[in-house]
Amino acid sequence: MAITSPDSAISGGFGTSNRDLIARRLAARHRSERMFRAVGLGAILLGISLVGILFGSILSKGIPAFTQATFHLDVAFDPEVLRIPERPQKAADQSVAEFNQELLSWQRRLRTANWNRLIQEAIAAKIPAAADNARDAIGLVASNERVKLWEMVEDNPAIMGTTQPVSLIASANVDVWLKGNIDRTLEQRYQQLSALQQQWSDALYEEGVISMDFSTVLFTNVDSRSSPATAGLLGAIVGSVMMMAIVMVVAVPIGVMAAIYLEEFAPKNRLTDFIEVNINNLAAVPSIVFGLLGAAVFINFLGLPLSAPLVGGLVLSLMTLPTVIIASRASLRAVPPSIRQAALGVGASPTQAMFHHTLPLAVPGMLTGAIIGVAQALGETAPLLLIGMNAFVASVPSTPLDQSSALPVQIYLWQGNELRNFFEARTSAAIIVLLAVMISLNALAIVLRHRFERRW
């Protein structure tokens, strides 16, 4: 065999195949690069489109529920119909107890007067046939709206005998009918409104007696079962606010203190490692477990009341603690050691170095963690179901020990309401409210971070 020059061996036979090989490999690498990018982009597009579908369906269902069919009627407060005696005045020789008794019985007379008759007469002024069909006429207006009428008299007894313009919410079925949320072509036996009511609603809507107004009751009323059209979120909002306040007061200070100690002062040994692992595990514990714990400890053992925002707040605090601790430790760790060393170098004690120098720099991160933890707690439902917060509560809690509902639980309850045609939209509206609160909390977190953050 002749010895060929090494040069020709490289540039000749081997050389071309080598270049081919490299070109092929390069093509393969570029291809996998492109593939990877395409898959990544696909994942993001898929995610965005799913979120888009979710928001789209919630918004498209929920936004119509922010307006509601409302009657604008002139109600004559006819003393002949109501037959309410004069509001009692305290006589000089009367004891307070006696006067209160008398006032109470007057209030009861007021509440049991025939308010429906007033509503019927007001409708009959627009549609004469309503005078003979009491049931149909009264059924057009949400039944709790008579509360509005007696409150007007209670506040100002002088309106007796006068005619006042009043806005009254239409009943849920009228709202459903006018918005077309029920198939209008269905046979009468499948409909909720009687034929007369359908005809009247349409006529009154044409005339402008019924109009679609912004639904303030959604924010100013408590939940209602007897008159679904006036069901609102006020009780749930107040309950949620109370719980969030408790979470802020309980979880944030404890979490921040725990984080400071663990990060800055605790000795590094097996015990602190063990605690750290457990905190991380706690952050991953399903929230319903905290609910069970809360029911066992706060309600059965400590004897706190059922359905109370205090208990809900404490349970959510336990759930939020790990999040706060982890976020706070991370933000403490992000403060450069040189800051501490400089402080110690000029003679500050470790506590002084901590509180005067490290902590102020870590606060923005801690705040972000706390707000995100609170936002997470705000949306939490499962643990609240176990401490009785899924009860029907028709009053606004005045202290954290009163029974109350909460926003996510209210969504759950409305989702289960049997009047599906009305509550599907109402539920989505409640979801929008909850999302708005949550987005504003998260926005606050972002603003705070940008405002106070210092980069190194």
Partner: protein, 346 residues
């Protein structure tokens, strides 16, 4: 300093909460109710109207949890953090009375509030059903009688059971065992349906019960632990399915559901009140006698519930689907409330 202030504020708030807690342990003044999800709509309406009518009482709080869940809470004991009234869509069991007694709840007052019908309904777009208990049993059971013996359920289509039924796949959505409705369903539909077959009738009691109450496990029977909305959701997803609902739920969703007749009778307020429609049950609430006079308004609430305008004929509860008691029956319940008569099971 700022953080010390924050910490001390937190400590003060926590201490304040504890003090308030201790104080409140003496002073709950809102009636607390829990239990059956069938009774829940009725009870919440009454609670709301009660709060509207009586200026001196708070609006009672009504929770759900099912009949069994409610009675379990009810029997946890006497005290501020236990409920005052349990709603139930079935009678209390002797075991529950014992549990109550052990926890110190001796004076249990049983109040019957009316009746409720259980209906079979399917999606409006599907075929119309005219069912009998025997056909429902044949659709649902694990083993069905055929040619004089029990064989594994071969039916997959309603028309195989009876040619008069629609040509539609068998899927039944029934309430889970946590619901009082389930018990009534078994007692009023499945048991008579099952016992109408001679093969089953010939068995001894234990074997009969096993044959009647073993439901098929091939996915054609779906048990729902949640409320009727969940059942409705199942029907939306599987339009072929037949669901078990309360009459009042069906009544409010007539645009989506069509109801099946049972033994040729269509369920309505009238046919259930007259007893023609076979699948109905009484509804109850149970009052904790020990709490009467301690928590204000319990007796007033109960009497208001039983008053003519609230649960009588033509009342607001009838409008939302409760079948009222006769006047004599209602008077008997009012007497029980006034005398705080302890329930006795016979």
């Amino acid at each position: 300093m700022k953080f010390n202030q924050l910490a001390s504020a937190a400590a003060i708030a926590a201490a304040g909460a504890l003090v308030a807690t201790a104080a409140s342990a003496q002073s709950r003044d809102t009636i607390q109710i829990a239990g059956s999800s069938t009774v829940l709509p009725f009870a919440s309406v009454v609670a709301e109207e009660f709060g509207n009518t009586y200026p001196e009482f708070n609006t009672p709080v009504v929770g759900s949890g099912g009949s069994s869940g409610g009675l379990r809470q009810f029997c946890q004991g006497v005290g501020e953090n236990t409920i005052d009234i349990a709603n139930a869509s079935r009678r209390i069991r002797s075991g529950e009375i014992e549990a109550c007694g052990e926890a110190g709840v001796e004076n249990i007052v049983e109040v019957r509030i009316g009746y409720d019908g259980i209906v079979f309904a399917s999606d409006v777009s599907t075929g119309h059903f005219e069912l009998t208990p025997a056909q429902i049993f044949q659709a649902i059971a694990a083993k069905v009688p055929q040619d004089g013996e029990l064989v594994d359920n071969p039916y997959t289509n309603w028309s195989e059971i009876d040619s008069s039924l629609p040509d539609q796949d068998i899927t039944l959505v029934i309430p889970g065992t946590n619901h009082g409705t389930r018990e009534v369903f078994e007692e009023k539909v499945i048991a008579p349906g099952c016992e109408s077959f001679e093969v089953v009738e010939a068995l001894d009691d234990d074997a009969k019960e096993a044959a009647c109450l073993s439901f098929r496990q091939d996915g054609r029977v779906i048990e729902v632990a949640g409320d009727y909305t969940e059942t409705l959701g199942r029907l939306d997803a599987q339009p072929n399915a037949i669901g078990v609902f309360g009459l009042s739920f069906y009544d409010q969703n007539r645009d989506r559901l069509q109801v099946a007749t049972v033994d040729g009778v269509e369920p309505s307020l009238e046919t259930i009140a007259s007893g023609e429609y076979p699948v109905s049950r009484p509804l109850f609430f149970y009052i904790k006698g020990e709490h009467v006079g301690v928590i204000p308004g319990i007796q007033d609430y109960a009497l208001y519930f039983l008053s003519d305008g609230v649960s009588g004929a033509g009342s607001m509860l009838e409008n939302i689907g409760l079948i009222p008691l006769s006047d004599d029956e209602r008077q008997a319940q009012i007497d029980k409330i006034e005398n705080k008569t302890t329930v006795e099971l016979n």
